[in-house]
Structures are given as C-alpha cells and as structure tokens.
Symmetry: C2
Subunit: 464 residues, 2 copies
C-alpha cells in the first residue's frame, strides 16, 4: 500500500525519469528508511539507480554513531551504495552562531549536493511525509501567509530535490517499517522541528482529527496541490511579464516600466516587486507585506521622483518612466523641464507630477477669489513675452516680495532648507524678464497687483 | 475605534460611492445593530442615505415579534427609514422542504432585494464580521477547498451586497453596542449557523488563540484578502480566455477549442471547465474535483469521440476540434474518414486517435515476428489497387477467417455487441476488391498467407 502510494506520487508528479540516479538522504529514522527501502524495491521497475548518504552530525555522540552504523548496515543489506560524512555540527553551530537545527540542515544539504555531484545523480530524495506537509501548511497559515505558503512543500524542486513520500502518512510509514522489519532508529525529527510545529503535530492536528475531520491531513495536502497549480501559473505569468516590462537589469539595478505596471493586475504587480527584490538582494528575508504595499502606493502616487528605503540598503525610486530597484543612490537633481504656459491654458508636468492652470480676469473678479500657497495672482500687463514653467537654472535670481532687492535662487533654497536633490522638483514661473514665482514658496515684487492693474493672471498649481 | 475600522474597510475596498442609497439588513442582533448605527453616523461624511429592512421570520413567535419592535424603535430613534415584512418562515420551510436556516436565508434576501429595488438603493449592507470571515475560511479549509474557498466572503458582491464590518471583531462590535447603549436583541446567529461552524467558533478558534496566536482571526482575514486578489486575477484571466476559446455558446451547448485548451495552463483549464458547467447548469453543485480531473484526462486523451456524464444530465464530449459541454446527445456515428495507406508508410487518423503503419517484408522475416489483435500480416500480392483505411460503409461485407463465406459487416458488429455509435470508430482496411481487416476484430480469408506467398504486408495500429 505504501509502495502503491509512492508510485502514484512519483507518476502524478513526474518525479523520476528513466535511468535517473537518485540519492536518498538517509538519517536512519523511519521516514528515510521507508523511503530508501521502497525506492530500492522500485529500482528495476523504473530503471533507476539508488544511492544513499548519511550525515553523522555528532549531536549526542554515541547515538549519532549508532545511527551511522545502522544506516551503513541497512545499505549493505539492501545493496545500496552508501556515503557517510561526519561533521561536528555542535561545534560548527557554535562557530557560525547558528542553532543546531539550522547548522544540521545546512551541513546535511551541503553534503547531499556534494555527493550528488560526485556520483552524477539527477535527484536527491528526501523523506518529508504527508504529516510534515499538513503541519507545514498549518504552521504557515497560523503565522500568516499567501498562496506561496499554502502550497506547502514542493514535490519536486528545480535543484533536483524530490519528495516521493509526501502523500504517505507517518502512520503508514511506521507500519511499513514494521512489516518489513526495518527497525529504524529513533525518529530525530523532533530534533529538527520547531516548537510551533511540535504543538501542531501533537495538539492541533489530533484535535481537528477528533473533532472535525479524520482526513484533515489528506484534505490539506489536496488543497496544497490545487493551490500549487494556481501558484505555478501565477509565478510563470509574473516571470513572463517581468521579462516584458523590465527596462534595465544589472547586478545593481532593476528598472521596470512604470506605465506597464500601472496597467497590470495587483496580484501580478506584487509578484513582480518580489521578483525584483529577490533578484537583487538574493532573498526576500526582511521583506514584509507592508513593504510591498508601500511600493504599490508609490506606483499609484501621481508624483514622480519618489524614493523608498527597503531593508539591507535596497532602495526603490519612482521616476517618470520607471520603478527602479537599486543599491545605488539616484539623484533627481538633473531632471529638467521647460514648458510654455498659455494664458487661459494649462500644462501638465509629469516630471514633477503637477498640473498648472492660468486664468485671465479683471482685477475686481480676482479680488473676490481666494489665493493661497499654491494659487497666486499677478499683474498680467507686467508680463513680457511667454510665461514659462521650468526647473531652476544656474544663476537664477528673483526679487522676493518684501525683501526690497534681488536674491539668488540658490540662497533662497538654502534659507528654506530645501535639500539639493529636491530643488529641481520645485517649479519656477518666469517670463522673458525674470522670475514671477518660485512655486509654493516665494512670489516676486515685480509682478504684483497695484492700483494701476487692469488685467490679472491667476495661476494655480495642483499635484496630479 | 469601530467607526475607524469600518471607514478603513469602506475606503480600502471601495464599498461606498457618493450619493449611494444603502439598505442595511437589520436583524436586531449586535452585528446588524452596530452596522446600522455606525453607517448612520457616517451618512453625512460619505454623503449617503441609509435605510433599514427587517424580516419578521415568525420563528419562536413572541421573540420574533419583539425583534421586529426593537428594530422599528431603533430606526425611529436613529431617524432611518424602516421596512419590515412578516413571513411565516417555518410554514414556508415545511412547504418547500427546506431547513429553517435555508428558508430564512432565502426569504430574507428576497425581501432585501425587493426593498432595494423599490427604493432604488445601490447597496445592501450585511453585518458579517471578522469572526464570521475567519470561521468561514477555516470551515472551508477543513472540508477541503481551493483558492476560491480560502478567499472567504467578498467585501463587495456584483449584486450590490457589501460587508463593511468584515474587518471588525465580534468583541469590538459587542463593546460598541454597549458604549452606545444600543441594547441589541439576542444574537440569532446561532440559529443560522451550522454545527461545524459553531464548533469552530466555540472550540477550535479559542484553542488556536490560546495555544498559537491571539491574532489568528486577523491573520486569516489578511490571508483571505491576499488570496482574493490572486483569485480575482485568475478568474478574470479565465474569463478572458473563455471568450477567446469558446467556439459555440448556446443555452444547451458550450464548445471550447480543444487545441487551445491543450496549450493552456491547467490552473486556467480547470476554471474554464467550471465556467462552462456553471454557465449551462446554473450551478456547480454536485461537481467535485474528481469530475474536473476526469474532464482534464479527457482533454489529454489521444482519442477523440469520447464522452463523459456529469451530474444533472450534463454531458462532456471530446471531438476532433472541440470539448463540448451539452445537455443534448451527440452521435459520433456519422464521423467518416477515408485514407490511403502507402506500403511501407503510415497514416494518422485523428478522428479515431489511431496511427496505422505498414511494412513490406519477406514471408520468412514476417514469420519470425509476432502478430496480435492490433498487428496482422497479409499476402501483399493478393492486394488489388490501393490499401484504404476508412470508416464502414452501408452494404460492407467481408469473408471472416474460418467462416467459409461472406457476412455483412453490420451483422458482425451485432455479433460482437458493438453499439451503433461506436461502429464508425472501428477502422476498416480494404483494397479495390474487398475488406482485409475489420481492425482489432476480424481478418479476411481472401488475403491470408499461404504456401505461395512471397511478399507480406504487416500492418500495425496503435492508439495515439
């Protein structure tokens, strides 16, 4: 029955190909012993070749030694080529400041891939079972997750790791070992499992099995399989769109097309963001939902030239054409623009996310209307030539109201404590003669409305 | 705090628009009382108009009467236009053979939509809360589900139902009612809830809160929201592809392009299948995963002219060009084909999913090779004209080996108990003179290998 279940899993998930060399990770516990024994039985059927490897982790020395001896003896009996490596895991963990579990896991996988390469194996078979899968899904669910977490462990990873036991329950594995008189060693899974996982195994799952559904593990595993299919599709779509929308992709910087992003479903945009971060930083560690939401808001924000800091020195910039993930500072200083503002017209300046409108009216009408920080009125007949909205230029000067003389724009910025990188995002309104308005900050004496004013131009700027 | 939470929900999920008329479903219990009171408070803020409607369900008559009076009084105090309807739900349930819960639910929604239409409201606000959402997700998880189940209840349905309380916990709702001295009626939720839901509420969630995570309800709700986004994208994609791949769409029949389906990710194909069934049958009730998997296998099967029965008289046919969902019987009888089989050549007959090969060889060589049901050998020099592989024709006769005379093909089919609709899928091998082989069933005397045979033609048919 266990063999049949394993065959089903192998065939449904295409875990094995003709002539595969398969290295079994053999701890000596019931799961890996069952896995080795069953795969060995299927060696001829699938035309494969089975190997085994064991890590003597030297945790609780005598017991670890006995595990290694047991593993060697089993492989000898089963006629399976056997590899063993002894490493002082407790010493390594201490040196690297890792937990015993982390260290054992890392060293075990290092050893497995080393042997895999040496013997030219295609696959590493590990012994996670149905119970492990159900626990993993529930643990992630309790901690908070999405489809990527709920799909559980994969049957098959791109690096060659396969999990042929993942539809087989622990209970059936233990029976299989009994029936075949395999006498596996004590189950060291407890060594590797977190506190929460143990509570899920020992308290929560039995509670649900008793009160709600005896099949809960199967139910969860089936759910994970359905979700994995959806997740695979979503990831593949995101990958395709990433390649379509990426404008720049170097070790330091990834730039995505901002207009394309705005037209893409948020389900995919979130995946594109994660892909960009993972590609650059190598990991998504430290990236929470709140970071992703912040970046989504950045994309939706009408302003350009925005910046967000992520953990580990990664930054996200929004510019007129791109969403840029980078480890390098980007200076917005050099974004220049220069537009003619028609009387009774408007312009939209995407570079700084502003819309500027002008309206010509009588002085009487203008006086009845409010002005404010972003709405100012000027004597229209004092204007020479075209009205221009532009970024600051070297040597710009103006005559701020109330000062009684001219002042360099640079000094005005310094007085206003506006940092260099933000100065170009403050628009300057000028005509052929000089500057009317440092928008949002200072207006000029030269264009003010006085007793001789007849026509007024009223100018409003709004963020887009 | 409850008001702030509700505002967050309304704004994040775009539940309300300027000038909306909103009808609140008011049972008189804490949830709906809190909802009505809070929305009424927000009436000016959102520039909306609040109404309330109550169903007097006449279950436990006096209490139901008191509920109705309470609801009327509350609406009077809050200055909310109030609609009430009394229906004898127990009598209705008995008549329609429904459970009390089903009947109450149906009649309540009927009443709500009736009032909604009468007053021209855009929205019906119902009072499901955070606890309800968490329970729903866990209940579905225990029963087995996919992303569509795990996304929980929607904040906003296309029919105008909205759920502004869905991020607010029951505990906060009860406090809100206390603080505002609303004295809601006994919570009738228990009346409406299933046995399993009650156990989740009273046993499982408290257990998880105590042992694992006090925030489990929030965690689950956030997970549901993330999954809803993914689900929405997947459904929208499936809808788009459905419209692309649908070849026929009537009340009786939906035909999807089989070649396109084969190139589509199974995550979407499953959704297309569900869409087709739901469109025709009006519901997915009775459709299990096993049906969907069967239809997937049908698509992958190399044979055409296949049929599957679904519940409620719906049938799925696979033909050469389409996957057909229909309530009408389709007869495959009239699929005709006629191909020349070259000596030392092969043909592929998609109509019946067969590949047929011919090989000319010496008698000596042929004798050394096995024959069987699907591999036969004939005297090549007895063949006149072209070899033809075709569907049967009216009046076909052959001289089956051992019979000593000719027989109508029709009678052979009858003897073999091959039903009429399958007869055209059995290929006939013939030459200018007559029939060599009713493939897979009978060979002819006329072409048999004898002592004078020199060259042999060996013919094999395989399913694709």
């Amino acid at each position: 029955m266990v063999i049949e279940k394993i065959k089903q899993t192998i065939e449904r998930e295409n875990l094995i190909e003709n002539k595969d060399k398969i290295l079994v990770a053999l701890s000596g516990g019931p799961d890996s012993v069952c896995l080795l024994h069953a795969l060995k039985k299927l060696e001829t059927y699938y035309n494969i070749k089975i190997y085994a490897a064991h890590l003597n982790h030297k945790i609780r020395g005598i017991e670890a030694q006995k595990d290694a001896l047991y593993a060697a003896k089993l492989c000898d009996e089963l006629d399976v080529p056997f590899f063993v490596k002894a490493i002082d895991v407790p010493a390594y963990a201490k040196e690297k400041k890792m937990t015993l579990e982390e260290a054992a896991r890392k060293l075990r996988y290092d050893m497995l891939f080393e042997v895999k390469n040496r013997i030219g194996a295609k696959k590493i078979a590990v012994a996670h079972n149905l119970d492990d899968q159900a626990e993993t899904v529930i643990m992630r669910l309790i901690r908070g997750t999405g489809i990527t977490g709920l799909k559980g462990m994969d049957y098959k990873r791109v690096d060659g790791v396969i999990r042929p036991l993942m539809d087989t329950s622990k209970a059936n594995i233990v029976s299989y070992c009994d029936e075949n008189k395999l006498n596996p060693r004590i189950d060291y899974t407890n060594l590797e499992t977190e506190y929460t996982r143990n509570k899920i195994r020992l308290k929560l799952l039995p509670f649900i099995e008793q009160e709600f559904s005896a099949n809960i593990k199967d139910t969860i595993s089936r759910m994970a399989n359905v979700l994995r299919e959806d997740s695979d599709y979503l990831e593949a779509e995101a990958q395709r769109i990433f390649e379509e929308q990426v404008l720049e992709n170097t070790n330091e910087t990834i730039k995505l097309d901002i207009e394309e992003l705005k037209g893409t479903h948020s389900s995919l945009v979130k995946r594109l963001i994660r892909m960009a971060i993972k590609t650059l930083a190598g990991t998504l560690e430290g990236i929470d939902n709140v970071h992703i939401e912040d970046i989504l808001s950045l994309i939706k924000n009408s302003k350009n030239q925005l910046k967000l800091n992520l953990p580990k020195g990664l930054m996200v910039y929004k510019t007129t054409d791109g969403l840029i993930f980078t480890f390098e500072e980007i200076s917005f200083e050099n974004v220049n623009y220069n537009y003619i503002l028609e009387p009774d017209g408007y312009i939209q300046i995407d570079e700084i996310g502003m819309r500027i409108e002008s309206k010509i009216m009588s002085k009487e009408r203008c006086i009845a209307l409010p002005t404010g920080q972003y709405t100012k009125a000027f004597d229209y007949d004092k204007i020479k030539g075209n009205l221009i909205v532009r970024s600051r230029l070297d040597g710009d000067r103006m005559k701020p109201m109330g000062l009684g003389g001219t002042k360099k724009l640079k000094d005005i910025f310094i007085d206003l404590k506006i940092p260099r990188e933000k100065r170009n995002s403050i628009a300057v309104l000028s005509d052929d003669k000089g500057i009317l308005w440092l928008m949002g900050h200072k207006i000029s004496e030269d264009y003010k409305i006085d007793e001789n004013t007849k026509r007024v131009i009223r100018i409003t700027c709004k963020t887009l």
